[in-house]
């Protein structure tokens, strides 16, 4: 007997399918590689024609991203003596000196604070609500769950006007606290729906056993359900973090000076005469690479996360 199966694709089919998919993957990944590549180009290499695939790598883009620079004359440059650091040397080559740090570090830091702050809040509120929806008879349960989901359908711009007014009167405009609360509200629907799915999968018998052993409800929740749901909670947290990290519409409307995050900031990086593409690419690389790493780590739960738990593999 041969191991012929009607459902197993033939070797030729596999080869054909594999070639097409690899071709698509290479094309689709090219713009991302181009961002990373451009961040290591010199400004003249970045705008060369034809576009350069091979080039002398330089850290100019990163230096320009983190600093502001001013132009000085030849004499001034001579008077200042030898540059003391490698980045000083790099900018003096173009007749510039470093005037100070740019605002990128602040913006990146804001993204981290707001991203992690809202994720923690989202997970705490979401786990509690998801547990209650999963295990108890909550009145109007289906309506409440649908209500939570429907908050996701609103275009951000549509609620931005009153949120702007509300935050202004509460003094929350352009603050970390305001943005953390806002992003928590935005991601809460995701967190409740995903976590409810994960908690539903934990057999209820574990808790019943714990209750018979004399645990209270809270103890059963802490010591039995939470450890069982750890993987689910972790992947939900990463999803909340990524969505908060990527958010742009609210950030651009409600923040300007102190609490602005990186997404509205990166496109505004401007060099001498037009956009400084290596610096923009450097900012984008530092901003996007962590998400790429998380996506690869999350790949098993990806489908579930992006469909709010509607599709589980």
């Amino acid at each position: 007997m041969s191991s012929y199966s009607v459902t197993e694709p033939s070797a030729r089919q596999k080869w054909f399918a594999g070639t097409l998919v690899v071709l698509y993957a290479v094309i689709t990944i090219l713009p991302l590689l181009w961002i990373i590549g451009t961040s290591f180009k010199s400004p003249s290499d970045a705008i060369a024609y034809p576009p350069k695939t091979f080039f002398q790598p330089t850290l100019e883009g990163y230096v320009n991203l983190f600093t502001t620079r001013t132009r000085v004359t030849e004499e001034q440059l001579k008077q200042m003596g030898e540059p003391t650091t490698w980045y000083d040397r790099l900018v003096r080559k173009d007749g510039l000196i470093i005037a100070g740090p740019s605002r990128f570090t602040e913006r990146f830091y804001n993204s981290v604070i707001i991203g992690f702050g809202s994720t923690v809040l989202c997970i705490v509120l979401g786990t509690a609500a998801a547990y209650a929806f999963s295990r108890f008879k909550v009145p109007l349960k289906d309506d409440l769950l649908f209500f939570i989901l429907s908050t996701r359908m609103m275009p951000p711009i549509a609620v931005a006007i009153p949120i702007f007014l509300m935050f202004r009167s509460l003094g929350l405009n352009d603050t970390h606290a305001g943005m953390i609360l806002l992003y928590t509200a935005v991601n809460l629907s995701l967190s409740v729906w995903l976590l409810k799915g994960f908690i539903d999968e934990i057999p209820i018998e574990y808790e019943e056993a714990a209750l018979i052993d004399g645990y209270t409800r809270f103890q059963a929740f802490y010591k039995v359900v939470l450890p069982q749901a750890a993987t689910g909670i972790a992947s939900t947290a990463i999803f909340c973090l990524i969505f908060a990290w990527n958010e742009y519409a609210f950030a651009v409307l409600l923040t300007s000076g102190t609490a602005q995050t990186a997404p509205p900031f990166i496109p505004t990086i401007i060099g001498v005469g037009g956009q400084d593409w290596p610096a923009v690419a450097a900012g984008a690389t530092l901003f996007l690479v962590p998400v790429m790493v998380f996506t690869i780590l999350l790949r098993k739960h990806l489908l579930r996360g992006i469909t709010f738990g509607a599709v589980r593999k």
Binding site: V21, A128, P155, I242, Y248, P264, I266, T307
Partner: protein, 315 residues
């Protein structure tokens, strides 16, 4: 309805122990656990929504707080529904919505179908294909303006290389006939993996035994595809379309960074148009009415669609 587990446990134990287990009643715990989330959503989603509805009947302007606010009835709504420019915006949104969905469904399904052939290393390549979807649309959209530059842009160079056209002879985001396609291309690049992942889950949910039975009945591959594969994947595909539809109806960040609604207002989708009315012209009352109309449209279309989806699922 699931029987509350605590009741089951309580029934099965002596009264004294049951009392101790109960402590706080389930009902109390349920409310303590659910209330904070509901309160936050009411404060940050529902309260602003009600405020928007109230503002939509007035001529309030945020930048002129000292002017008396007048109640104008339905005038804002009438003005919007009879405004030619807003209908153009709606058309631009519809064009964007329809083409992104068509392309993403076609490419996404084909990719899923190919990946489901289980060639060696398919997991690795799937993960790579998925990457663009998770990235910040604003940051990526901004970088695409660089790829779209005439002459120095990678996209123009690649098109020139493949078709022989001069890379500096066309500008994807500067030309009124190309700009609508520029945003469709980037959105499709970004979100095809989303449709692909959902289709893949659909394909993997089909039991092999169905195909084996069809093979016994000597159904051709073509017939198997149309009578087994497509109907079984359809509910998944419809779910993917629902998600993409809602998301792209709200589309803001990617397109604002790519074209800013231009050239002229050719790619000015509803969210961008709304932002302009609300935060550049500061016509708060008018923009609020606009927001209400958009929200009712999304909600209405989504509800109708979900009904259709449930029918397909039941079949």
């Amino acid at each position: 309805m699931l029987h509350s587990s605590i009741d089951r446990v309580a029934h099965a134990t002596p009264p004294a122990v049951a009392q101790r287990i109960r402590g706080l009643s389930d009902r109390a715990i349920a409310w303590i656990f659910v209330a904070p989330s509901i309160v936050l959503l009411l404060a940050i989603n529902i309260f602003p929504l009600i405020w928007t509805i109230r503002l939509s009947f007035t001529n309030f302007r945020v930048n002129r707080p000292n002017e008396p606010v007048q109640f104008v009835g339905l005038r804002n709504y009438l003005n919007i529904l009879t405004d030619e420019d807003i209908w153009l915006t709606m058309q631009a949104t519809a064009h964007f919505l329809i083409w992104t969905i068509v392309l993403q469904v076609l490419i996404g399904f084909s990719l899923a179908y190919l990946i489901n052939k289980k060639f060696r290393g398919n997991d690795l390549w799937t993960t790579l294909i998925v990457l663009p979807m998770m990235l910040s649309p604003a940051v990526v959209g901004n970088f695409w303006t660089f790829l779209y530059q005439p002459q120095i842009g990678l996209f123009n160079y690649a098109v020139g290389f493949l078709t022989g056209a001069d890379p500096s002879s066309f500008s994807m985001i500067g030309d009124t006939s190309l700009a609508p396609w520029a945003i469709i291309i980037v959105d499709t690049w970004m979100w095809t993996p989303f449709v692909m992942l959902i289709c893949l889950a659909g394909l993997r949910s089909i039991p092999n035994s169905i195909y084996e039975a069809a093979e016994c009945d000597r159904a051709s591959n073509w017939r198997q595809f149309w009578t087994i594969t497509i109907p079984m994947v359809l509910p998944f595909l419809m779910l993917a379309i629902l998600f993409r539809g809602i998301e792209n109806f709200k589309m803001f960040d990617l397109v604002v960074q790519l074209t800013g609604g231009g050239p002229g207002s050719i790619t000015e989708l509803t969210s961008i148009n709304l932002k302009r009315e609300a935060f550049e012209k500061w016509r708060t009352g008018y923009a609020s009415a606009y927001a209400v109309i958009l929200f009712v449209t999304v909600f209405g279309l989504a509800s109708i669609y979900v009904k259709a989806l449930n029918k397909v699922k039941q079949r």
